[in-house]
């Protein structure tokens, strides 16, 4: 992409921050995957001493953390169907500033 763009409207005023570029994001995912693998592999190196039976399973904390969070997100999602209301539901709550679009992001 040329740095001298004749039409400033055609793209954002500033180029994307390095952290927002797609190749950076891809690289971060790779790093994250490696870190995850290392934390699981590290279990083989340190001598774990579980106090409860299930805690002693290999990579218990990894699986438990993941599944617990998925469960909580799904539970929250389900509860949201019942309990969510528009954010000006209560009387006296300020309406969003004028000109701002409403709805999901």
């Amino acid at each position: 992409m040329s740095t001298h763009d004749p039409d400033p409207q055609a793209r954002p005023a500033t180029p994307a921050h390095w952290l927002s570029r797609s190749e950076t994001v891809r690289r971060l995912w790779v790093v994250f995957a490696v870190v995850l693998a290392v934390t699981v592999a590290a279990e083989a190196l340190v001598h774990m001493h579980p106090r409860f039976r299930v805690e002693g399973w290999f990579a218990f904390h990894a699986g438990f953390g993941f599944l617990a969070c998925v469960g909580m997100v799904l539970f929250a999602k389900g509860l949201g169907f019942l309990l969510k209301r528009p954010d000006d539901y209560y009387p006296g709550t300020s309406a969003p500033p004028a000109g701002e679009e409403r709805g999901r992001d």
């Binding site: 340190v46 409860f52 617990a68 709550t93 300020s94």
Partner: protein
Amino acid sequence: MIELSFPPAVILILGAFLIAVARPAIRPVIVLLAPILTLWAIWRLPDGVLLTTQFLGYPIELVEAGKLQRLFATVFAIMAFAGGLFGLRQARWTELSAGYAYAAGAVGVSFAGDLITMFMFWEFMAIFSTVVVWCGGTDAARRAGVRYALMHLVGGVVLKIGIEGIMIHTGSIDIRPLDLDTVDAWIVLVGVLINAAAPPVSAWLSDAYPEASPFGSVFLSAFTTKTAVLALILLFPGAGILVWIGLFMIFYGIIYALLENDMRRILAYSIVNQVGFMVCGVGIGTEMAINGAAAHAFAHIIYKALLFMSAGAVLYQTGRRKCTDLGGLYQSMPITTACGIVGALAISAFPLTSGFVSKSLISEGAAQQGLVVVWYLLTAASAGVFLHAGIKFPWFVFFHKDSGLRPADPPWNMRAAMLLFAAACIVLGCFPGLLYGLLPYAVDYAPYTGPHVVSQLQLLLFAGLAFFVMLPAMARTRTVTLDLDWLYRVLVPRIAGGVLAAWQDLGRLLGQAWGRSGASLAERLQGWFRPHGPLAQTWPTGSMTLWVTVILVLLVVMAQRGSP
């Protein structure tokens, strides 16, 4: 024994007063000096009962010091300093003054040696925290402040009834562990739990705190719930019911924070979550768990204030408070982002942060007692904390999509306060001995063992993986989530409105039924009572005597029948 002439809280009260009346030029000096002097006074106190006096015929102990009291008072004073620094040049003076009086109440509760002193400072906090909410300055803040005040007045009345019951039935107003075998003790427990934002009234916290100003919510995050935790430690250590109340608060906080869109309300729900860990620790009641609850309160005040500061900095610089309106701020607010992330890591109990060395004491306490279910739930909840506060808050505020906003970092004093507390989170995490040395019981626990670090990293990083995998299910919506406060915010007004309308209809119907002359009920009543109306006329003395006689006879007859 040193004869003390005043409680340390008096310094902060004096500071609050001077901030209000002093010339603007010297106000910043008072703001920064008062908490430091308070801290000095706190650390001068030897252990034991140090200041007694008489109140309503009861000997009251205005100051009773011990390791636990000193720990809480210390972090309250540090918190006042950082809160004052954060709002030094931007908060209104009334707000800083009220905030310092509020902090003084918390220090006063910490050192209270009896229930009367505790109650007086308790109410002092309720009054000035309400003022802090009102300093939010909006109509929503005014309404939320009224609801907040009502909740705390009710809580105060409940607490006072319980305290009076204990005074009458035991003759003692000492603060000591109470057995839950009397109604009085239960009433005191309910009064304290209202301030801890326990179910079913947890909603007061997320209702009021996010409506305060960016500076007020930093003060609010620290004192009320943590003094309640201290009161629970002193009055109800080992009360089994607290384990389950605490666990409920923990998961309530996570689920509601996951549904929330307002960044400060996410943090408010997460206060309930964190206080849940402490309440659970008090319920477990062993030395390890009580140490954990106290240490977690200390660490929590610092990282939660830090999180509220970073949210406050964003609000101050952008005027926006909802995740749907924010995002991408890391590009122009690097210091705020970094400090927010440190706070988020600390609340998630990442190794090398303060949360790691404090929360693990509570889990360890549960494990040592063989509370298997509690331990598994606490472990799941630790993953959930990373989910709702550790990633969700920084992700949606500072990263996520680009909102197009490019605000700068906030002014120097706000940055300094954030950096101070971020440093504190890391220092306490790297040198746990600093915190462990302050705890009420000797600590025989090493947080940094290979298995503990590895299992915690697994737990948290895979919780992080779950966050990004589930991200589509967590799209922010412009919604609020109903809570039990719906009962008094919607249902009661609706019923009252219905009753009022029915009353008016009834009046109209009666008026129509009687209304040969077309007069309404009100006009008819006016007709009876107006000057020279039937009920306003002078009646003959004879008829009055007659009626008095009739009433007297009735009374005598009833008294006869009533007597055995």
